[in-house]
């Protein structure tokens, strides 16, 4: 009988250790503890060029993650990319003239959307469109401009 309870104890320890490892993986290793956007609200922003922006890329304001990109489609009327942003519910007081820009974290890092608050009193509601936007910096274009500028400067 004593031997049997020892076996049961060992199995109990094994199962608890397995669950603890799974919990550690999901809490510490994954991004579960980030901003929950499941009950958030969405905004739209149009960009001339989104560069390498991907769905689920972070949306930041003043360096704080407040949401993520939920959808990127091409607007066939204006031929601009229209990006749907899902923001967490507690950040629902962004001014109407908030501007959106696509930045890169680090030189070669992933791209994210940075929002900058404006001064209006009216706030953006769910489904509204952000009017001011700045496209992604495409490295090849910048290099091209730089080389072109250099060449024309030499004349």
């Amino acid at each position: 009988m004593k031997d049997k309870s020892k076996v049961e104890l060992a199995v109990g320890v094994f199962v608890v250790a397995g669950i603890a490892a799974l919990l550690m993986l999901s809490l510490k290793v994954s991004n579960l503890s980030g901003v929950s956007t499941s009950d958030g609200y969405s905004l739209q922003a149009d960009f001339e060029n989104v560069g390498g922006l991907k769905v689920r890329a972070p949306v930041m304001m003043a360096g704080v993650r407040i949401g993520e990109v939920s959808k990127i489609v091409l607007n066939t009327q204006t031929y601009e990319a229209s990006v749907m942003l899902t923001l967490a519910k507690q950040y629902n007081q962004l001014p109407k003239d908030t501007s959106a820009a696509i930045f890169t974290s680090g030189l070669l890092g992933e791209q994210y959307i940075a929002l900058e608050a404006g001064g209006e009193e009216i706030v953006l509601k769910a489904g509204d469109k952000i009017q001011l936007s700045q496209s992604a910096m495409v490295l090849e274009q910048v290099l091209g401009q730089f080389i072109f500028g250099k060449a024309s400067g030499d004349e």
């Binding site: 060992a10 320890v13 199962v15 397995g18 603890a20 490892a21 993986l25």
Partner: protein, 264 residues
């Protein structure tokens, strides 16, 4: 010329039919096992005992292997990443390789060597010593009494073992990366948690380990149950368990990886 071609074709046909028969037998065996699952309530103490044999006794091997694999990943990853000044991404690299691939695959291979071979040998020897025919004589269903508890214990153990492997491996990578090589402590964890996704990475890793667990333990109990009841037969069955599990797991891993991570 014509004759040798014909005999070659005949040989191919023979091999194909043989493997089809084996596959069919394996699936009938799986069906019987699944049908015998209902009796697990009565066999609960036997399930606990098998969890101990299959899971608890394997965990020592899994933890030690996970630690060393994580440490090696930390060391090798650092050497590559430091050339690009990206050694802060070490945590991300170690965690993703462990959770997505190394954890489930290496755990399944070790599981086949540690627990699978033992299951095959045990069931095979039960056949040699005529315990299984004796059970059938007494109208005791060996599927319910012998196979089902071992089968379920293996399937329950595998995801836990793989999770332990990955968690300990991340810790091993942390020891080498942060402790030995001087990667920044905060960057190690923050880069890791910003890039590892709960569903896409961790949940898929768990699904992989469950599938590998089913395959590994299925092969192990099938080979044991169908072993030729002689000394040589049991030894051959044990070898087949380890070899077939390795092939099946590595082949399945490619398919699962292509399905889970290939499209994006």
């Amino acid at each position: 010329m014509m004759n040798s071609l014909l005999s070659w074709l005949q040989h191919v046909g023979q091999r194909t039919m043989k493997s089809a028969v084996r596959m069919g037998r394996g699936h009938i065996f799986l069906w019987h096992t699944l049908m015998a699952m209902g009796a697990l309530k009565k066999e609960f103490s036997s399930l606990i005992k098998q969890l101990y044999e299959v899971g608890v006794l394997s965990s020592q091997l899994i933890v030690v292997s996970g630690l060393t694999v994580g440490m090696v990943l930390g060391l090798q990853g650092y050497n590559t990443l430091v050339d690009f000044g990206a050694e802060d991404a070490l945590g991300q690299m170690v965690a993703l390789s462990l959770v997505r691939e190394m954890g489930p695959v290496i755990t399944a291979l070790l599981f086949a060597g540690r627990a699978g071979s033992a299951l095959t040998a045990e069931i095979g020897l039960m056949k040699v010593t005529e315990q299984i025919p004796a059970m059938e004589m007494m109208a005791v269903d060996p599927y319910k009494k012998v196979i089902a508890p071992r089968f379920v214990a293996g399937i329950i153990s595998m995801p836990f073992l793989a999770a332990m492997f990955s968690a300990v491996g991340v810790f091993g990578g942390y020891l080498v990366g942060v402790g030995m090589l001087g990667v920044d402590d905060g960057a190690f964890w923050s880069q890791m948690s910003s890039k590892v996704d709960l569903y896409a990475d961790i949940l898929n890793g768990v699904i992989k380990s469950v599938i590998f667990g089913i395959v590994a333990v299925w092969i192990a109990v099938y080979e044991g149950f169908n072993a030729v009841p002689t000394t040589a037969g049991v030894s051959r069955a044990t070898t087949r368990t380890v070899v077939h599990t390795a092939f099946a797991v590595l082949g399945l891993d490619f398919i699962l990886t292509a399905l889970m991570f290939g499209g994006a």
